[in-house]
Subunit: 167 residues, 2 copies
């Protein structure tokens, strides 16, 4: 299995990030972005407009995953952050998503955020729902049919939330 | 009380819109934007990046309210819209908010949206919560302490949702 580490992304990481993000968008099962979105649009969302972007890197330097962190609302709501995570297909089963989510909670706390919110956790993505619950996130509510799944059509999505402070 | 009508906003409406939006932001009780936000930033959010912006106009041409309509998510979530409404203080009690919300549901349907979602209805804004429920919106879930109210400190906010199709 081998070790890996998580660090802030650099501009030069984008082509590798895009290689693992693009298939996830194209699959249309977990993220709302269409497969047709181009690299520049995706980079604008994942790296430019995010507060921070991180990568999980293998011992040999290859990219295993990436995540972004941003305020979920402006102004009076900017103490709650939002993150999005993508794990490389080849890296499944190594605990990358768990490591990235735990890392993101530490980073969010360090940056002054006191809670983390996921706005659209696709209900059919049961592995993700199970993992976020295991990591302390609660389902606040379920939005009916808000995600047009590529194979299944409209499916529900959860709003999930975790307090970070005092934990 | 007199009649009023609702129409799409024009660029020239912005100064009047800002005169009624700015005090609402400055009050810090219902919208996350800080009072310090300037007119251009507010215009970028309310008019430029929105899919559509509308105004409620009195018989004498004065502005009574305004709302925006936009997709709540990109791509596979863009069949659900989001709206934000502001009513002029002097126009309270005339049913402007009700008229704007009903208008927005018709417009959203016409534009192809099948549902409407409010992401942050401040729980202490009981008049708004009551009105949206009366107009068919359901509280999907309640986010703890996600809004830093100007007078009350951190307060809860609801995610509210309404299906528009088949209704």
């Amino acid at each position: 299995m081998g070790g890996f580490h998580i660090r802030e992304a650099r501009d030069a990481d984008w082509p590798s990030c895009w290689r693992i993000i693009q298939p996830v968008f194209a699959a249309g099962e977990t993220y709302p972005a269409y497969g047709g979105i181009d690299s520049e649009e995706a980079r604008a969302y994942w790296m430019v407009s995010a507060r921070k972007t991180y990568v999980a890197v293998d011992e040999d330097g290859s990219l295993l995953g990436t995540y972004y962190l941003r305020p979920n609302q402006p102004g009076r709501g900017d103490h709650v952050c939002n993150c999005g995570y993508v794990t490389a297909d080849v890296a499944r089963g190594r605990g990358i998503a768990t490591a990235m989510c735990e890392h993101s909670q530490r980073e969010a706390t360090r940056l002054g955020f006191t809670a983390m919110q996921f706005n659209l956790v696709v209900a059919t993505n049961t592995a993700a729902v199970r993992l976020w619950r295991k990591l302390g996130f609660e389902i606040i509510g379920t939005l009916p049919g808000v995600f047009r799944h590529d194979r299944l059509g409209p499916v529900d999505a959860h709003v999930m939330f975790k307090q970070l402070s005092g934990g």
